[in-house]
Amino acid sequence: MAVKKMNRYVTLLLTLLLSLAVGFVFMLILGYQPLDAYLQLFRGAFIGSVNLGTTLQKFVPILLTGIGFAVAAKVGCFNAGIEGELYLGAMAAALTGHYIKGLPAPLHLLICFLAAIIVGALWAAIPALLKVKWGVNEIAVCILAGYVAKYITSYLCNGPFSAGSGVPQTPQVEEGVILPYIMEPSQANAGIFIAVLAVAAVIWLIYRSTIGYKFTTVGLNPYHADYMGINSKKVIVQGMMLSGALGGIAGAIEVLGTYGYFLDNFSLNIANDGMLSSMIVWNDIRLVPVMSFFIAALKAGALSMERFAGVPRSIVDTITAIFVVFATMETLFTIKKKRKAKSGKGGKKE
């Protein structure tokens, strides 16, 4: 890769500053007070337990989907359909959480998460299998399957599993499986501990285990892996399934922690933010948590920015998107070697 490890953090910082600067100029042109906006953004993200709690609550799904995206990238796939896995995982948790009754709470909770993991993993296996079997482009399938997943859950919570309250949602899950709030009155919940645990496990798996070695080698060069006796197709499917499972966990935490039921269309592209946070750090799994937290803070702060500085909160999404546009440019900050040597040393020697 063109970006060396040493420069990564510098590049990241420069990219961030550049994006903020673009946002600054953008707001200035439109007649807002950019400095005030950024200040309100910061306050809205961190100052006070409500704000900080909102940041944490938003952090969890972004973190999990971000790590999920990065894991898929590790085996060389673009899992652009993680939002779909999140929805399906959420639905699985909501249904198991409501319809299974009479179990001890910890066991019930485990079942809810397992259901979400299995559903998410299986959904992600579809594009992976199509890719390794027949070479179908996984990006296209992931995105298209994402729409399908969304409509499936929409049908389920409007139709057969509707709570019947007029709102498109499933019935409330059992009391025992609800993840308690930890920073009231914000919606931050105990799901964050589960998320952190899951992410730590994934990081360990990737960097310390033989499974991680397989993922890495397959992602970098599947031909080499096959020749060495590592079945690249199998590993790609495994990687995508792990990715989908993480999406499923994210969905389960949203349902069991934040809402208590499945609400139609609740996610509003939160997995996209996860994807962004991973792409910004070039899918480096160890950096994803930092970037996810940053993006969660931006999201949380955007509300109060809109309220107090009058800037539409979608500007935050715009700036984040600009951030990722810049971040994808690998050679944006590499200092160009002088292209023309003509003027330099080798001119005339005769």
């Binding site: 033989t210 991680g212 070695y213 080698t217 003509k342 020697k349 005769e350």
Partner: protein, 513 residues
């Protein structure tokens, strides 16, 4: 030197790439109407020099003159305009397009914005007739043979008005007999006043075709000599910088039971002529069996089928008595197969990983390098250091990314891993391709050492000299079948060369259909 004497003058050329100083003080002058060979080992900077003349790379220093005019900021467009044409080592032909479309590309006769196909056809047939070249303009590139594709490349340069033709290792893909044909064409071109640069490292060819010869070594200019004033021995010395004797004596060893038995094997092929159709042979313990043949006659497919990387459609493969037909690569390895693949950058190595991660690639999940799924990095490090020392891999730092290594050292990693795996059979496919002479010597020594240990070796090489130098038995492949099997004592460039071209063998051990 009078400027008008030379059509091309390259003086004090300097060129660096991120990892290497490719050319350092390069000199090259070309007279009108001569065939001038540019020779040197792999990585000597020959191709880089010529790519600068063609404007593909920009020199960091030095001057390039064409017909006395100093050229700055050359690019292929300008070079073509100045009458420079280049036939690259890898053909610059688009498979999915026709011969005609490939030839006119970039210089299309037009009718308005559309292509004037009639005019194109007319112009091309002029060259086909003048130089008696046999090509079919309306075939797609993936439908024609390698030799024909090379002629298309030559026509392409002529069509673009080339006065200077650069040919980068043109004979690498040809049989000895096809080479002769090519030489006839080249001499014809010279006699009609074209100047030709012939890049090669095969000294016999160079002595046959050249008027003058320029030698490069490790990016540096060594000397330019007239053909009459030199011989292959002197050229070899200039190329390598010392006397070399690549003809290591064949290791004596006791030949034992069959290790590899291939019986009536049929497999798919990337091209029609590389499909394996009914191949049978065996490799015995303590024996090197060499497969000779022009690239693309099914050697790659055969090796892949044995190694579990390609489906066997019919027939069987036995490894030390065990039927390993259609085993996965993993199971085949577990059964005792080891394999140095032909393309070390694609299969042999994971170039983005470190030396140690590449060395451990087979044993990474076995004890003591892992317990359960936990990797033991300390043990891995120790293992890597041991192999680095034993096989003299440089740099001797386990954590260096392999991408930055020279061809020779990269290849040593592959060899080290496969030899260490300690199988029953070692398949060595193009083991010295793109490797410097020093590494070639040590790799050949290792192969002989493995043979002495009583293992079976299947050697595949497009370099006939290499096959002849190492093998006890030589199998010649042609169009996916075995043309002949020859004992090393009876094998020479002449009879094997004939078989490589598909001629019937004069003396062969058995006929295989």
């Amino acid at each position: 030197m009078a400027a008008e004497e030379y059509i091309v003058e390259m003086t004090d050329i300097d060129k660096s790439f991120p990892a290497v100083h490719a050319v350092d003080g390069g000199q090259f002058n070309l007279k009108k109407g001569e065939i001038h060979s540019l020779i040197g080992e792999n990585g000597a900077g020959k191709s880089t020099m010529m790519k600068m003349l063609y404007g593909l790379y920009e020199p960091d220093g030095g001057t390039i003159r064409i017909r006395g005019k100093e050229m700055t900021h050359l690019n292929p467009g300008i070079a073509i305009g100045e009458g420079i044409g280049m036939v690259h080592q890898e053909f610059m032909l688009v498979n999915e397009l026709t011969v005609l479309e490939n030839v006119i590309l970039g210089f299309e006769p037009r009718k308005g914005v559309t292509i004037d196909f009639d005019e194109s056809r007319k112009r091309i047939s002029k060259y086909i007739d003048t130089y008696h070249m046999d090509i079919q303009p309306d075939k797609r590139i993936n439908q024609i043979s390698v030799g024909e594709a090379q002629r298309v490349e030559i026509i392409k340069t002529l069509y673009r008005g080339a006065e200077v033709l650069i040919l980068d290792e043109p004979t690498a893909v040809l049989t000895p007999q096809e080479c002769e044909q090519l030489f006839v064409i080249l001499k014809g071109l010279r006699d009609s006043g074209k100047s030709i640069v012939f890049i090669s490292h095969k000294l016999n060819e160079v002595m046959e075709i050249s008027d003058r010869i320029t030698v490069m070594r490790q990016g540096k200019y060594i000397r330019t000599v007239n053909k009459e004033d030199t011989d292959t021995k002197q050229l070899a010395k200039m190329m390598v910088g010392r006397e070399v004797f690549l003809n290591i004596e064949k290791a004596k060893s006791k030949i034992g039971k069959p290790i590899l038995e291939v019986k009536d094997l049929w497999t798919s092929g990337e091209k029609e002529l590389s499909k394996i159709r009914g191949v049978s042979f065996q490799v015995r313990a303590g024996e090197i069996v060499g497969i000779a043949g022009v690239d693309g006659n099914g050697q790659s497919e055969l090796v892949e089928a044995i190694a579990g990387l390609r489906r066997v459609e019919k027939g069987s493969i036995l490894l030390d008595g065990t039927d390993i037909t259609n085993y996965s690569p993993r199971k085949a390895r577990e059964a005792g197969l080891t394999h140095i693949p032909e393309d070390r950058n694609l299969r042999g190595l994971n170039r983005s990983l470190s030396i140690e991660d590449n060395l451990i690639a087979w044993k990474f999940q076995t004890k003591p390098y892992a317990s359960g799924i936990v990797r033991r990095k300390k043990e891995v490090r120790g293992f890597a250091e041991k192999l680095i020392k034993r096989f003299d891999i440089r740099p001797a730092e386990p954590e260096v990314i392999t991408q930055s290594l020279s061809g020779g050292n990269a290849q040593k990693i592959v060899v080290a891993r496969e030899v260490d795996a300690d199988g029953k059979l070692l398949i060595a496919s193009q083991p010295s391709r793109g490797v410097d002479i020093g590494a070639i010597e040590s790799i050949r020594k290792i192969l002989n050492e493995v043979k002495r240990q009583g293992k079976g070796i299947l050697l595949v090489s497009a370099d006939l000299e290499e096959v002849l130098a190492l093998s006890d038995t030589i199998i010649v492949m042609y169009e996916g079948k075995i043309r002949g099997i020859v004992d090393s004592e009876e094998a020479g460039t002449d009879n094997v060369g004939m078989m490589m071209l598909g001629e019937s063998p004069e003396n062969h051990d058995k006929e295989v259909s």
